[in-house]
Structure formats: structure tokens, C-alpha cells
Amino acid sequence: MQEPTFLILTALAEGAQHGYGIMTDVARISQGRVRLRAGTLYAALDRLLGSGSVSVDREEIVGGRLRRYYRLTPSGAELLAAEAARLRANAKLASTRLRRLPGSALLAGGAA
């Protein structure tokens, strides 16, 4: 799973959000590292809607403009959980090996 997709699903795990809300939330949870643009966001949303990982929660008209809210489906939650577990396992393995590396306590975050 690509990082933008992972972050979009993570943003929606907090609750239903509209497009611009997802963009700002992704920037916040990635601490400004990932800034989604509209083309990338809607390509990912279109794919996630097609695979059933995300569904439309509701639509509103705000200031004369359509605002559509998206939410995570149970299968999307499962997908996110599996990806989080995979990343956690990889991170754990990396940390374990880094701890064994002589003189690399700082690289491993100082945890010995």
C-alpha cells in the first residue's frame, strides 16, 4: 500500500471527512511531510471506493458547493489494520537488527 493511501485510510479511521478535511488531516498526521494534492487524493479515493474500502457517508452543500463526506468501511478498516500490523512488524525487525549493530544505539532510538 502506498503511503498516501495509508494516510487517507488513517485520516478516515478518525471519522467521516470531506475531501479538504482529508487533505489537511493527512498533512497534520504526517507532520507536514505528506501534502496531498487534489488529483492524487481523488485518484486514491476513486480506487478505494471501487475496492469497497471507503464509502460515501453523506453529501452537503456548503457555500453553494458540493461537499461529500467519506468514511471507512469495515473492509477498509481491516485493510488498514493489516497494513499497520505489517509496518509494525517491519519496524520492530528493523529496530531489533539496529540494536545488534555495534555503536548504533542512537540509530535505534536509544532503546537498548
Binding site: 470531506h18 475531501g19 479538504y20 487533505m23 489537511t24 501534502r35 494534492r37 487534489a38 488529483g39 492524487t40 487524493l41 481523488y42 485518484a43 479515493l45 476513486d46 456548503v62 458547493r65 458540493l66 461537499r67 461529500r68
Partner: protein, 309 residues
């Protein structure tokens, strides 16, 4: 005009890169998000933002095209091929035969040879009206024989004029396609149910005009040959798209593209200065042909995978 309206117009122009269906689904929502991002400090649509929308639009168009292809009625497209391939080949071969008879009667054995080629192309689909499996076997044998002959022609010890093999590569692929169509589809009987009188006419005219135009191309400059060949292919493709009913037409056109491409490159390549050395460009023929064939195979696989119980 206010600044916001100008920005919105620019975003709408960029969204034109997306297919209409996509714009209907997300267009207004995207405009709202883009304007919110612009007013939220993300700035006016800069180069990176425009690139992101153009890339997204092209990607959406590619995906939409791919979905349309994969949604084609592939069993019917194959059934159509079982008729389209022999009709086009017969039109081409018979028109050329008549042309050569017109300029030079030739020896009897030449006429027998040409007659056998006509029989070899016509026999499998006619046989398929009663004995489909036998017809498929005969078609596979004939296509296999020509393919072996073609592969021999393009072996490394050959003179290296790759483009001169375009006709053989195209004919081999067409016969293999026709054989596969007889084996894995409803064959000519199903095709006869689908084809309209106009689509029969387009198929016959396509083959005959290829056979008639081919000798005319020899003495023309390559650019003129390219214009004629590409124009004719576009007319045939347009004619089939307009006259073949249902979603099978897209599949038929993609299936026919693989054998048509090397034939077209060959027809252009041999015009003008005969013997145009293309030994350095074998990919000119083989890569696009492989791409068309691969795309058709992938779409067929996806169709089968999706419709499997």
C-alpha cells in the same frame, strides 16, 4: 472578473483533462477542494498543482479506457474474429490475385498456388459451420505452418530487412487469431447473428481495398503511403466501430490491431525506395504488436477472471 472566479476558471480548464464521467462524479467536489486549498494558504494553482491534475486526468482516462476494454464482450469479439479475419484476408488475397492476372497471366502453377491460399483461408470458417473442432484443428495447422515459415524468415541469419517480414508476421498472427477464435468462441454461426449487412460490407471492402491499394503504394513516397495506410485503417476501424453492434466491437478492434499493425508498417516500409533497411529497428514491428496482443490477452484474462463463478 474577480480573482476567485479566475482561479476557478483555471481549475475547470485543468479538470478538462479528466474524462467526462469522472468530472460528473467528482468535478464539482474537486473544484470545492481546490478552491478551499487555494484560500487555505496552499496558493493558486502552480506548476506542481497543474501537473498533479494533468497526471490524474491522464491516469483516469487510461483507467477508463482499460475498463471499457475489459468490459467488452470478449466471447462475441472472438466469434466476430472467426469471420472478420478470413473475410479481410480473402478480400486482400483475391484482389491481389485479380490485379496480377490483369498485368500478367502467369504460369498455371502460380494460379494453383494462389487458389490454394484462398482455399486455406476460406476452408476453416466454412468447415466450422458444421464441424467446429475439426475446423479449429485445420486452422491451427495452417496458422502454425505459416508461423514456422515466418519465424524461419526472421531468423538471425536472414538478411536483416525486418520490415519486409511485416506481411508474413501480420498474416501469421491473423491466422493464429482466426484459429483461436474458432476454438474458443461460438464461431461463424454466432458472428452471423451479430453482424449487420453494413458490417459485412465494411469487412469485405476493408480486405478488397487493402489488396487494391497495396500495388499502388509501391511506387509512392513513404509519407504518402503512410497517409494512405493510416487513413484506410482509420476508416476501417471507424466503419467497424459504427456498424458492429454491442460492446464486442471494442474487443474486435483490439484483437485485429495486433495483426494489422505489422501489415501496415510493412506496406509503408516497402513503398518509396524498395528495400528500406530496417535491420536496426526490429522493435518497430515487434514491440507495438506485442503491446496490442498483450493488452488483448490481459483484457481477456480480466474478463474471464471477473465472470468466473
Amino acid at each position: 472578473m474577480t480573482g476567485d472566479a479566475a482561479v476557478e476558471r483555471r481549475y475547470r480548464r485543468l479538470l478538462a483533462w479528466y474524462p467526462a464521467e469522472y468530472r460528473r462524479a467528482y468535478g464539482e467536489e474537486m473544484i470545492g477542494v481546490l478552491l478551499a486549498a487555494a484560500s487555505g494558504g496552499s496558493g493558486r494553482p502552480g506548476l506542481a498543482g497543474a501537473f498533479d491534475l494533468i497526471r490524474g486526468g491522464l491516469r483516469a482516462r487510461l483507467l477508463a479506457g482499460w475498463r471499457k476494454l475489459a468490459d467488452a464482450d470478449w466471447p462475441d469479439a472472438l466469434a466476430l474474429c472467426s469471420v472478420a479475419v478470413p473475410i479481410i484476408l480473402l478480400g486482400y488475397v483475391i484482389a491481389q490475385w485479380l490485379y496480377f492476372l490483369h498485368i500478367h497471366i502467369g504460369a498455371p502453377h502460380e494460379q494453383v498456388g494462389r487458389g490454394l491460399v484462398v482455399l486455406a483461408i476460406a476452408a476453416p470458417p466454412l468447415l466450422a459451420l458444421r464441424f467446429r473442432r475439426t475446423a479449429a484443428l485445420v486452422a491451427v495447422a495452417l496458422a502454425g505452418w505459416l508461423t514456422v515459415f515466418t519465424l524461419g524468415g526472421i531468423s538471425p541469419d536472414w538478411s536483416g530487412y525486418w520490415i519486409n517480414n511485416g506481411e508474413d508476421v501480420g498474416s501469421s498472427l491473423a491466422l493464429l487469431l482466426g484459429a483461436a477464435a474458432l476454438a474458443w468462441s461460438g464461431g461463424p454461426r454466432r458472428a452471423a447473428e451479430i453482424l449487420t449487412p453494413r458490417s459485412w460490407l465494411v469487412l469485405i471492402v476493408a480486405g478488397v481495398s487493402m489488396g487494391v491499394i497495396h500495388p499502388y503504394l509501391w511506387s509512392r513516397p513513404a509519407w504518402l503511403a503512410a497517409v494512405i495506410v493510416i487513413g484506410m485503417l482509420a476508416l476501417v476501424a471507424g466503419g467497424l466501430a459504427l456498424t458492429v453492434p454491442g460492446p464486442a466491437a471494442r474487443g474486435l478492434l483490439l484483437l485485429l490491431a495486433a495483426p494489422a499493425y505489422p501489415g501496415a508498417v510493412w506496406a509503408i516500409g516497402i513503398s518509396g525506395s524498395y528495400g528500406f533497411d530496417t535491420s536496426g529497428f526490429p522493435n518497430l514491428i515487434f514491440l507495438p504488436t506485442a503491446l496490442f496482443a498483450g493488452l488483448a490477452a490481459a483484457a481477456l484474462w480480466r474478463w474471464r477472471h471477473r465472470t468466473a463463478p
